[in-house]
């Protein structure tokens, strides 16, 4: 299976290379846009996956779409890269900023130079043409709660984790989830405040141990940071409560894999960076061509079929749910 997958990726990569090569020959063609995606950090699994999406887009459309990123997750290095791109006069820059505030000036400069700018994971950015978000945080929170409620049979005690009590997105997910539960699943009860894991698996583990001791009837846990569900699952497993406590949350297969396999974690969700990469490039292309983005539009990318437009920010419904059944499809 793994071997097949590798062959397949090699094939796709080769195909992409051929098409990109063919595209390079016809460089003089007018309609060809040069779009560069600047990511937080190059070489990590998450952005390698995004690059697959960018390459796929380039292969499909013949546009000159590429991805670059600094060797360390440093805002200053991103600023330098964007300066270079402005000097090169690319048609559009799509960017996943390390620090949205730090990039505002240089992105403003890019806009002034007539370059279209599309952001991702940065709904607060001002100097952008558009910003693409995989989903609306509240909708995602409700989605996770629905999954937890389904696993718990719609009743029983549950608890929620956030990475930090100050983490904006995590709190938005969890607040929406709790509100949704109160409305739709009155037989479920939240046992205590939002718990803080500090994005550390061992802290999530210790807090879960304590939760189990204090609330022996606990039936469900919803995590926010990638480590939350893993720490919770380890605690549940050690307490001999596998299957009795349902665990659902945001994580990645590369982090939660072993526990998904045993079923200690019922479901994890995330968004696919490859799809986000394609969506960003599509939006950039449309902006270059002067096409307008409208509410409810279909970008033709899975998860972005009916986007919600709020100012310059577009939201998809691009979450991906992974259980033990489909975990082999994701290698990040």
């Amino acid at each position: 299976m793994a071997l097949n997958l590798r062959k397949l990726t090699a094939g796709v990569a080769l195909g992409a290379a051929l098409i990109v090569g063919a595209g390079a020959v016809t460089h003089a063609q007018d309609a060809k846009h040069s779009i560069v995606t600047v990511v937080k950090l190059s070489g990590i699994a998450w952005f390698n996956r995004m690059e697959e999406g960018v390459k796929e887009y380039a292969a499909e459309t013949g546009h000159d779409a590429t991805q670059v990123g600094p060797a360390s997750a440093d805002a200053a290095l991103q600023v330098q890269m964007i300066e270079d791109l402005i000097a090169k006069k690319v048609d559009a820059i799509t960017v996943v900023p390390n620090s949205p505030e730090a990039l505002e000036p240089v992105l403003g400069k890019a806009l002034d130079a007539g370059i279209k700018v599309v952001g991702h994971e940065a709904s607060s950015l001002q100097n952008v043409t558009y910003d693409v978000e995989a989903f609306d945080n509240a909708a995602y929170g409700r989605h996770l709660m629905e999954a937890l409620a389904q696993a718990m049979g719609g009743e029983g005690e549950y608890a929620v984790f956030v990475g930090h009590l100050t983490a904006k997105t995590h709190n938005e997910w969890v607040d929406a989830a709790i509100e949704y539960q109160k409305e739709k699943y009155p037989n479920m009860t939240l046992v205590t405040d939002k718990l803080e894991s500090n994005e550390q698996q061992q802290t999530a583990y210790q807090k879960t141990k304590e939760l189990l001791r204090t609330y022996p009837n606990l039936k469900g846990i919803q995590g926010s940071a990638g480590e939350d569900v893993v720490g919770a699952a380890l605690a549940v497993e050690e307490a001999g409560l596998d299957g009795k406590v349902k665990i659902v949350g945001t994580s990645l297969v590369s982090v939660a894999g072993p526990y998904l396999e045993t079923g200690a974690i019922n479901m994890i969700s995330f968004w696919d960076p490859a799809k986000a990469g394609i969506a960003m490039n599509k939006v950039a292309s449309m902006a270059i061509e002067g096409k307008e983005i409208t509410d409810g539009m279909d970008l033709g990318v899975e998860g972005y079929n009916a986007i919600k437009l709020d100012g310059k920010v577009l939201y998809g419904q691009a979450w991906v749910d992974v259980t033990t059944d489909n975990m082999n499809e994701y290698d990040f």
């Binding site: 950090l41 699994a45 205590t192 405040d193 061992q202 210790q206 307490a239 001999g240």
Partner: protein, 339 residues
Amino acid sequence: MNALARIFATPQGIVFFVAVLFALVLGLINPAFFTPATLIDLARNGLVTGIFALGVMMVLASGGIDVSHTAIGAFAMYATMKIVLGIDLDLPIIAYFVIAAIIGAGLGLINGVLIGGLGLNTLIVTLGTLSFFRGALLTFLGTTYITSVPREVINFSRTILIRIENAVGQMVSLPASFLVLVAVTIVLAIIMNFTVFGRKVYAIGGSEEAAQRIGIRIRRVKVLIYVIAGAIAGLAGMTHVTLSRMANPFDLVGMELNVIAAVVLGGARITGGHGTVLGTLLGVFVITMINTTLLMAGVPSYWQKFVIGCLIIVGTGLPIVIDRLARHRQRMKRPLEAG
């Protein structure tokens, strides 16, 4: 002063008193607290903090401070896993700990050379190396989680010393990694109490000037202190892997203040010359108890940090206040007796 008052005047006595008081309050709020299962949970949760704390105690006793220990631990843990996965050999679990300790000692040597050799300020140096070691780890070794740890590590994680059922029918277990803490405790207790080196550490912490005059080669002793502290931090890092069953390079760093608070609660002084193995373990016990039982006591999440801060201030401040008061009383007495 009667015997009881004298016990309370010692730092460890105070800590012990605070611990008992805190436990009593918790027990009143939640009767489930007073069970052997709680004790085992505490021992398990305080494991990594405990190992780190012992190394830091030695540094504090010598009059220095080490905030880089968590970065050393994280580096040693991640590097060890990378090395073992890279050479693809079946090593016994003890070899993992040896490799981690050697890497830790190597990084500790850097601290030692800067502090002992060049005579730089310990806080500045270790603040620098904290960032340096962590940066090196994330830049050169990687940022990805290693979730597929070798079989030996998983087997060791699953080896359990004690396993009991708590009041509500959940299993509570003490993992074999607890033996690492036991071993470090024994070795360090011997070093600090029964060797010339241990005496030298306290002497330097008490007064560097005096220590030098009686012929202690301060530089050499200091280098060795940081090498040993580094090795202990390496062991703590490896222990962390066996507890979490994965190696996350972002782990550990961030808990250094917690560790230092535990050591100071345990009677070591930032000014040096004081600190015992037993006191440190007590301090770790109290910190772990505070950190992992506030939920049980029904303290809301936002309040937990506040409460932890208050307890640390009271716990570390009280012994000093009591000490001052005792001295003050002595001073007041003197002229009366003379008259």
